[in-house]
Amino acid sequence: MLFSYFTKSLLRIKALWGWGVLFMVFYLVLGALVFGNELPKNLPVYAYVSYTSSWYALINLYTLSSLAISISNSIMFATYSLSYCFRFTRLKPMSYLLNFVLSSIIVGLTMSSAIMISTYGLFSYQFNMNLAPANLLFIAGTLVLSSIFMFAFSTLLVLLLINYLGLRNQSFISFIPLLLGFGFGFGQLYLSLPTLLLYASPFTAAIGLLYHGYSGLSVPVTLAIGLDNGSLDVNYLIISLASWAAILLLIDSYFLSRIKPRMIEEMRQI
């Protein structure tokens, strides 16, 4: 039951709560109390629901990416241990990954709850209406898939770093999930991205599904209010996100079984 030890360790990381929750709540404060002030007061209710859900979806994805980065970075400290454990203990690469996946789901759901409660409180207060999430079960399911995907993606980047690129490039690689999250997030918010890209990208799939779970509305091609470019099929988004998560986990398992022991000193820049 490695996941219980992983979870305990993760929940104790103060920086994770700082960057993954407090900093994200700060963004929600901006979204609700600063940018929310610029919305006209006489819009139909669904517009406020949509606005709130867009913020929730984007911010929650960033929370999950901070979590995924923290987890996958920890692998860099364990390269010798993993190499030893796969040879001389009963630990297998896939079981190691699944234990980490389970703890990232538990911690992801915990952190996301804080984001969801903050979204509900701040936006309901700002718009003076009940903006509770529409489908908690759907959100939970999406968070599970998104956590797995973010973990698997960050882990893949870290394993490529460990096995091929060297730990010196760690600071660049660490930001890739967050940068892609921002890129796709804001792309989906303001641009009319090609439908195929929105289905194919796990980032936009996760954002779309979180939006749908919170709002109960169909997922628009462009999240920003007033840009009606059609909507996306939720089932395709689920298939896309689940496929990415499963495929990346399998690739992770392959690279993990060939992990190269690395001195952590390699990470030093100066």
Binding site: Y5, Y80, S81, S83, K92, P261
Partner: protein
């Protein structure tokens, strides 16, 4: 049970181990001594498959270590092997007892035997150098492996714990490879086979019990049992007569300094 043949370990262009050959039978115990930086620890890492093997092979129980998976009969005392995640010692004992399929009591009993119960709630980075070494020794010993690999197990360890560890190793029934630069401690294991490692090359076997009759001399001597070629010259290992007697030395660094 262990076969090392023509082993070469290189980091970049630099070869750390050169054409190492060593075979170990079930229950055989081997001490390997050499000065700091001679490649002793790298040899242990190569046996574990965590050093870059660029030539030759290491076979454990007839399987190439590169392809070995889930082999529970081997343990080692390198602290970095146990940094699986950030946890206190108590949790690491519990996790590794699961992974090694060993009763967790084996870890806690050893910890108690070495009077180290106060480390249980600490994390590895909170331990002193001696405590880290003893923690790693416990992790290696608790599974009672068929092949025990010990890298400087006495380094930074206080006298009382050294004595207790010596007793455990004297009564250990399975195979051991112990690398050290401390000659004095080896005298406690007179039946063990002895090898010297210098600049990545292995010389032996001798018997630890013969160690006090051995001398190291500069150059090639007529009565040499073996000659050692290094970047600072050629040395001969001789018996009963020579320049620097191993029996007066406490560690191998001192022997090399004196003879060179």
């Amino acid at each position: 049970m262990l076969e090392i043949k023509d082993l070469i370990v290189s980091y970049g262009r630099r070869s750390i181990l050169k054409n190492i050959r060593l075979e170990l039978e079930y229950g055989e115990k081997v001490a390997i001594i050499g000065p700091n930086g001679s490649g002793k620890s790298t040899l242990i890492k190569a046996v574990l498959g965590i050093a870059p093997i660029s030539g030759g092979y290491v076979k454990i129980f007839n399987f190439d270590v590169k392809n070995l998976k889930n082999e529970l009969r081997v343990s080692a005392n390198l602290p970095e092997l146990y940094r699986l995640f950030n946890a206190n010692i108590k949790d690491l004992f519990k996790v590794f007892s699961m992974l090694k399929e060993v009763d967790e009591a084996a870890y806690f009993n050893l910890c108690n035997y070495f009077d180290l119960d106060d480390i249980l709630d600490k994390r590895m980075h909170e331990l002193s150098a001696g405590q880290v070494k003893m923690f790693a020794n416990i992790m290696a010993l608790a599974p009672n492996p068929k092949l025990l690999l010990l890298d400087e197990p006495f380094e930074n360890v206080d006298q009382t714990k050294r004595i207790k560890l010596i007793r455990i190793l004297q009564n250990f029934k399975e195979s051991i490879i112990l690398v050290t630069h401390e000659l004095e401690i080896l005298r406690k294991f007179p039946e063990w086979n002895l090898y010297f490692v210098l600049e990545g090359q292995l010389y032996g076997p001798f018997k630890v019990s013969d160690m006090d009759d051995l001398y190291l001399s500069k150059g090639i001597k007529e009565n040499a049992l073996m000659t050692i070629q290094t970047s600072i010259g050629i040395f001969s290992i001789t018996k009963e007569i020579g320049e620097v007697a191993l029996k007066y030395a406490t560690n191998f660094n001192q022997v090399i300094e004196e003879v060179a």
